[in-house]
Symmetry: C2
Subunit: 246 residues, 2 copies
DNA sequence: TGGTTTTAGTGTATTCCTTACACCTTCTTT
DNA sequence: AAAGAAGGTGTAAGGAATACACTAAAACCA
């Protein structure tokens, strides 16, 4: 939303009420969950970091707009993308009534290419854990998206979307640990993940590491599709806290 | 949304783009999950059943609008209400671009009073399982809300919102069975529910039933609030299907 | 009034999943 | 060839989910 390239009169065309999409684009790098933010070059909130977004064109579906925002900024399409919810507090936008539909998407950070749009908008990856003081209500939006991601990652095998095509089990575990902000037991994690039969052993190993190289796996899309049709429920439990006790 | 009492010129004020809320109001009666629908008295979709909704006023928060729709129609406020998501397909509204934010709410059907608004709009409870051919994209919205309800009811103790203040364990079980469209084992259900210590035994029994009267319980709000603060996770499992086998 | 009807209410054994936990293997580096 | 670093593996114990059947309490009726 709130794209700065629009003139004020174009902007006014969308009012009295306008709607936008904002996209929380997650990536994973250096053992850390990242989010792609852009630095605002114009008021309101000039100079502050914000979620990438845009007003929705009159003849454009919401999902299409979210995909467009992602594609223009990153050059990537065909990724995991899900609507979270609408944010519509009356005063969330200083220039008028704008509600925004929040999306989150998961991309393999290595596929990210700096596009003209992302260059112009000074896009940069930030660690989710340290983000603060975003423009508009974007902190609130980020929180909501991150919470949904935490839930999704437990109940659907979407973590893979954040990794390269080929990955090691340790990388996968680190990803889950970063997202869930918890430590997982190596043996139990592997047992659980492998028991789902959603990984294909590529019979390849890492190269160029200064230790025993790990086996590489890829995600089994075909098998996943079959399981989804059947009502499959991926579930990953956190270490159980004892809460029922009085 | 799409309230018929607006004149065409008032309606036009909201366009080019307008947004509305639609509210899926669930109730429980006669062992059956119900949804409150209104019969449209004007085009578009004149004569068809639709979800209650309205355009959002320029200075009104989305949640406020959803509460207002519920209150005007039913006379009830202060109930469980949650946003589901936005629906914004370009052609979802025949008169122009209108996106809608879907909410669902849970009410005790006995508290429902026929208001002037609900009378004028011919509001009526329908069994969720038999609803079809709603106006606009309202079937799709109902489906999404029902799916979220199924999920919520497993992970949060919100079922109580649909029952009278005092209820029996059998009534509670029937409610869960209706929502989840599955049968539950009586003993296991009671064990699970009671082990959460979220019910207060009122030391009262049913009256006027032609069989052994059941004990009455009420929901323990205070204890629930404490548990929520602590990150409590209510969980109700379905009978486990064997899905991992190849 | 006693028998019939109807729903309420209760316990246990089995199975399966979750958890906790430590050592050997394989590769690189020096 | 020894040290360093991460990879990879199995088992026992505890706890939750499941399956399952009879007795208890009230109203109704003959």
């Amino acid at each position: 939303m709130e794209q700065e390239s629009k003139t004020m009169s174009e902007f006014n065309n969308f009012f009295k009420s306008a709607f936008s999409v904002d996209n929380v684009i997650f990536g994973f790098d250096e053992g850390d969950l990242k989010v792609l933010l852009i630095k605002r070059g114009a008021d309101p909130f000039k100079g502050m970091w914000a979620l990438p977004g845009d007003l929705v064109y009159p003849n454009e579906d919401l999902n299409t707009a979210a995909v467009r925002v992602l594609e223009e900024l990153t050059g990537i399409s065909d990724v995991y993308l899900e609507q979270v919810r609408a944010f519509g507090a009356v005063n969330r936008h200083p220039l008028g009534r704008v509600i925004t539909i929040a999306y989150f998407s998961l991309i393999n950070i290595n596929k990210y290419v700096v596009t003209a749009a992302s260059f112009a908008q000074k896009a940069k990856w930030h660690s989710v854990s340290t983000v603060k003081d975003l423009a508009f209500d974007h902190n609130q939006i980020l929180d909501a998206c991150y919470n949904l991601l935490k839930q999704r990652v437990r109940t659907r095998p979407i973590g893979f979307e954040l990794l390269p095509h080929k990955f090691t089990l340790t990388a996968l575990q680190h990803l889950y640990e970063a997202i869930l902000e918890t430590e997982l037991d190596k043996r139990n994690f592997r047992k659980k993940i492998l028991s789902m039969n959603l990984l294909i052993d590529l019979n390849e190993t890492q190269e160029g590491v200064a230790h025993r190289p790990a086996k590489l796996y890829k995600f089994d899309n075909d098998r996943y599709d079959k399981l989804v049709q059947d009502g499959f429920n991926f579930e990953l439990k956190e270490s159980r806290r004892k809460l029922m006790a009085e």
